[in-house]
């Protein structure tokens, strides 16, 4: 419960009332934004002010990929601050992927030894606890994602015995969505044991109830061409790569439930495979305009992060060195597009709408690191944050808020964030900021 009320009389004390500390934290942020300067003094204008506020969605998140490129602790903490300025409440930490394994493992230290980009580019247990605590003080959950069994090249570097199609070149695109290719051998019981080790270790380190299992972009060719899997399928008529995947997911989701966590996963697990998870599972829809409705049709709780609206890394073109064209998810998502988008647009049944917990914007880091993180996230994620907290419906007109009225507020917030040390990108020439309605 993040609701609060804020009462600012004409003089005297302002009062924040909230049912939980989380509501109080949200209220304090709003209060900080009421303060403006007037000839060098700090004032609150238009008093008395009475605010009754509560979020539209309970899951308002930001995905940060720290595997493709590394982010030192200070940039993650700064991102948490920026999230707090926008009342975002979930840091979906996509901590590992094919490219690097930066997080300490006490059970499998070889993963970090072989998989971190360098000794300096690591997250120790202490770092992780620091992040979790810093986030908690800002009423932000830290939900980890360990995306298996795909995206596993870096695991294969430490454990080649449980990996398939490792770094196929030059035709990596037959075996993976991005280079380097590599997936866990889902027919090998040692891979299952390994995965259980990971789930167990990190379920303890990360205190959040939610644990994201990944499951996106699994490549069938990779497994089909693996000799041990060919053998397995031959010896087990009736089974196929698909049934192996379903078997894998069953084991993983059961394990997580056993560990007391709520499994989160990408839509691929339940929409692309004949896999049925418990209905406590939360499914993250990212692919199609209809993904969210398909997920809720199956009765799962859902998070909306459609790539064509919420993938903030898109628009920089392809990162493959010999290709001067676009990336798969171009063009750049503008704040206007993000603001105008209603994630519930394709879901009419109110029962199904209730299953949508919220959404997430994502910063995939193929072309982003500490030099760019602030600029790619902000202020576009602020536009997203308003949709998640307040929605984009203007109650007075019962239609989407006019972007020309939103722009000045977004710009004000952008400058507020810059003043607070976040390098949010500029939205317009300063002249337009000062002459609203003229641009």
């Amino acid at each position: 419960d993040e609701s609060y009320t804020l009462d600012v009389p004409i003089d005297g004390k302002a009062v924040i009332s909230a049912k939980t500390p989380f509501g109080a934290v949200r209220g304090l942020e709003t209060f900080s934004q009421l303060i403006t300067s007037s000839s060098g003094r700090k004032v609150i204008k238009n008093a008395p002010v009475k605010i009754t506020d509560a979020p539209k969605f309970s899951h308002r998140g930001l995905l940060l990929d720290t595997s493709r490129n590394f982010y030192h602790l200070d940039s993650i903490l700064r991102t948490l601050d920026a999230m707090a300025y926008n009342k975002l409440n979930v840091l979906h930490w996509h901590v590992i992927d094919a490219f690097s394994w930066p997080i300490e493992s006490k059970v499998h230290p070889e993963l970090t030894e072989k998989g971190a980009y360098s000794t300096d580019m690591r997250y120790s247990y202490e770092d992780v606890k620091k992040i979790i605590n810093y986030a908690k003080n800002r009423a932000i959950r830290v939900m980890p994602e360990f995306n298996i069994p795909g995206h596993a090249f870096v695991i294969g570097e430490a454990h080649p015995e449980i990996a398939c199609c490792m770094n196929k070149q030059p035709a990596w695109d037959k075996y993976a969505a991005e280079p380097p290719s590599g997936q866990l051998n889902i027919a090998d019981p040692r891979a299952v044991t390994f995965a259980f080790d990971i789930l167990t270790e990190y379920s303890r380190l990360f205190v959040d109830l939610g644990f994201h299992l990944g499951g996106s972009s699994l490549n069938t060719e990779c497994w089909k061409e693996d000799p041990t899997i060919e053998l397995y399928i031959r010896d087990h008529p009736g089974e196929s790569v698909d049934s192996l995947v379903v078997g894998w997911h069953s084991q993983m989701f059961d394990k997580l439930n056993e560990l007391g966590k709520i499994p989160y996963s990408w839509e691929d697990t339940v929409l692309h495979y004949n896999f049925t998870a418990r209905n406590t599972t939360v499914v993250q829809a990212w692919i199609g305009d209809d993904s969210l409705s398909k997920v809720t049709e199956k009765g799962y709780r859902a998070i909306a992060s459609p790539w064509n609206m919420y993938y903030l890394d898109c628009g920089q073109g392809s990162w493959l060195s010999n290709f001067e064209g676009s990336s798969w998810c171009d063009p750049y998502k503008t704040w206007q597009q993000i603001y105008n988008y209603n994630p519930l647009a394709n879901i009419t049944d109110p029962e199904k709408q209730r299953l949508v917990l919220g959404g997430e914007v994502a910063l995939w880091s193929a072309m982003s690191d500490e030099t760019t993180v602030d600029r790619y996230l902000w202020p576009r994620a602020a536009a997203f944050a308003e949709i998640m907290w307040s929605g984009n419906n203007d109650p007075h007109t019962n239609s989407t808020r006019d972007l020309r009225k939103v722009a000045p507020r977004l710009i004000e917030h952008r400058f507020r964030m810059v003043a607070r040390g976040i390098m949010a990108h500029p939205v317009q020439p300063l002249w337009c900021v000062r002459n609203p309605d003229s641009c």
Binding site: G315, Q316, S321, N322, P331, T371, A407, P429, L430, W431
Partner: protein, 440 residues
């Protein structure tokens, strides 16, 4: 002459030779790049090394816009540093535009007193001189641009009487390429006088031989519908807006000539007006690659800033709030696309090729200010810098492919980050460390 030679023996002293100090500066930059870390020591590997180097194009620049959004002097210093790391040698300072007039004018102080975003967001004469000196120490020329007669709304805050179509709302797009609308009233001799006085003032402040007078995106409706212009044309049959415009250009460029400077202007002055630029005017192409050919065939020197390759600000969507689509020049120009640009494409005549002085990558500032300037410029401007210093062809005649270039550009990107420039990453770090593994 920016040529130099470097001699690094296996042991002893390295020697740098150059005909001019500018060559020496370029050589020093190369030398700094030969130094790498080996454990805790600094070494130069692969000695002995002999380098003989000279640029293919003499004009290798950046257009920096400080009018749509302001850039502090400190930021400009950092841009000049980053340019020197890439042997870029022209800082084309697009200092004023419709949105603000940050540069001090002693002739018309109201321009900056009323037109700058704030007192702090102003370049006083001392600031300008400091920038010019800082640039000179790095072998970088500063070419100022006073963009006239379009793009001049801001002048209306000081001299409304010489303006046309000032801030037409809401249909500014009938009168200008972007809001706010406003152009110098070319039917009034006072506009010419105003421009000439600015030419007098700024040709003294900026020592470079070249002075840019703009001339892009002039809107005809703005003048056709202006009452003064209409009255003038009614009283002068045989004249029209085109002849007035040509007359304006003639007068101001004639005046520029009296200062001894060479003019520099956008392609519209050559291909979209009745005016015929002087022989020594340099034409800056931005719209159409064909304009490069037109210009050199007529004997003009050309600098290319072709928008589809060299406009580095593009790719972030429209900046008008009620437009959730693309900007006019999207998509984002990737470094590979930038690297593949050849300003002399389709021009075979050697005499004409020689008239192509080089390129300028531009960073228009509608959606750019100090928070993002580094990541927008780098490392993509480094890709332009290499193709204009070294060309795209090896000594063997092989045309470099981007996958062959990637490793070196990665290295340069990390070098710049190490030197305090927030150049953005090109790929996951894994790809930088495993060259050849992240190709299509």
């Amino acid at each position: 002459d920016e040529s130099y030679t470097i001699d690094v023996p296996v042991s002893g002293k390295a020697t740098l030779k150059a005909k001019t100090p500018y060559g020496a500066i370029r050589g020093l930059e190369t030398f700094s790049q030969l130094v790498s870390a080996n454990g805790y020591a600094k070494v130069i590997t692969n000695t002995p090394i002999q380098i003989k180097d000279a640029p293919v194009y003499p004009h290798r620049g950046l257009v920096i816009d400080t009018a749509r959004n302001f850039l502090s002097v400190k930021t400009i210093y950092r841009i000049l540093d980053s340019m020197s790391y890439n042997k870029l040698n022209v800082f084309h300072w697009h200092v004023i535009d419709s949105q603000s007039w940050p540069i001090e004018s002693k002739t018309f102080p109201d321009l900056h007193l009323k037109g700058a975003y704030s007192k702090e967001q102003t370049y006083l004469y001392d600031d300008v001189k400091n920038v010019i000196a800082y640039a000179k120490d790095r072998g970088i020329r500063v070419i100022p641009e006073i963009d006239v007669p379009g793009h001049t709304y801001i002048v209306s805050l000081a001299k409304p009487e010489i303006m046309s179509c000032v801030n037409k709302q809401p249909n500014w797009d009938r009168y200008a390429a972007e809001p706010p609308s406003g152009q110098l009233n070319i039917a009034k001799p006072e506009s010419i006088d105003f421009t000439n006085k600015l030419i007098d003032e700024y040709t003294k402040l900026f020592p470079d031989q070249v002075f840019h007078l703009g001339g892009d995106e002039v809107n005809r409706n703005c003048w056709n519908e202006d009452p003064d212009v209409k009255a003038y044309l009614a009283a002068h049959p045989g004249e029209d807006v085109e002849s007035l415009l040509a007359n304006y250009y003639t007068k101001v460029h004639d005046h520029l000539e009296t200062t001894g400077k060479d003019g520099f202007s956008w392609e519209e002055t050559l291909v979209h007006s009745k005016y015929v630029p002087k022989n020594n005017t340099i034409i800056q192409v931005w719209i159409d690659q064909a304009a490069v050919k037109t210009a050199v065939e007529k004997g003009y020197r050309v600098v290319s800033s072709h928008h589809d390759y060299l406009y580095l600000d593009c790719g972030h969507g429209a900046w008008l709030p009620n437009n959730d689509g693309n900007s006019w020049c999207d998509p984002f120009k990737t470094w590979m696309h930038v690297y593949n640009y050849d300003p002399a494409a389709n021009i075979t005549n050697p005499a004409q090729r020689k008239l192509i002085l080089g390129t300028e990558a531009a960073i228009w500032a509608e959606q750019t200010d100090e928070t993002v300037i580094d990541i927008r410029l780098w490392p993509r401007a480094a890709a332009v810098a290499e193709t204009t210093w070294s060309g795209k062809t090896d000594s063997t005649g092989h045309v470099r492919k981007t996958e062959e270039v990637a490793s070196r550009l990665h290295e340069q990107r990390f070098r710049m980050v190490g030197r305090g420039i927030s150049a953005e990453p090109m790929q996951p770090l894994w790809c930088a460390r495993n060259p050849g593994s992240c190709n299509l």
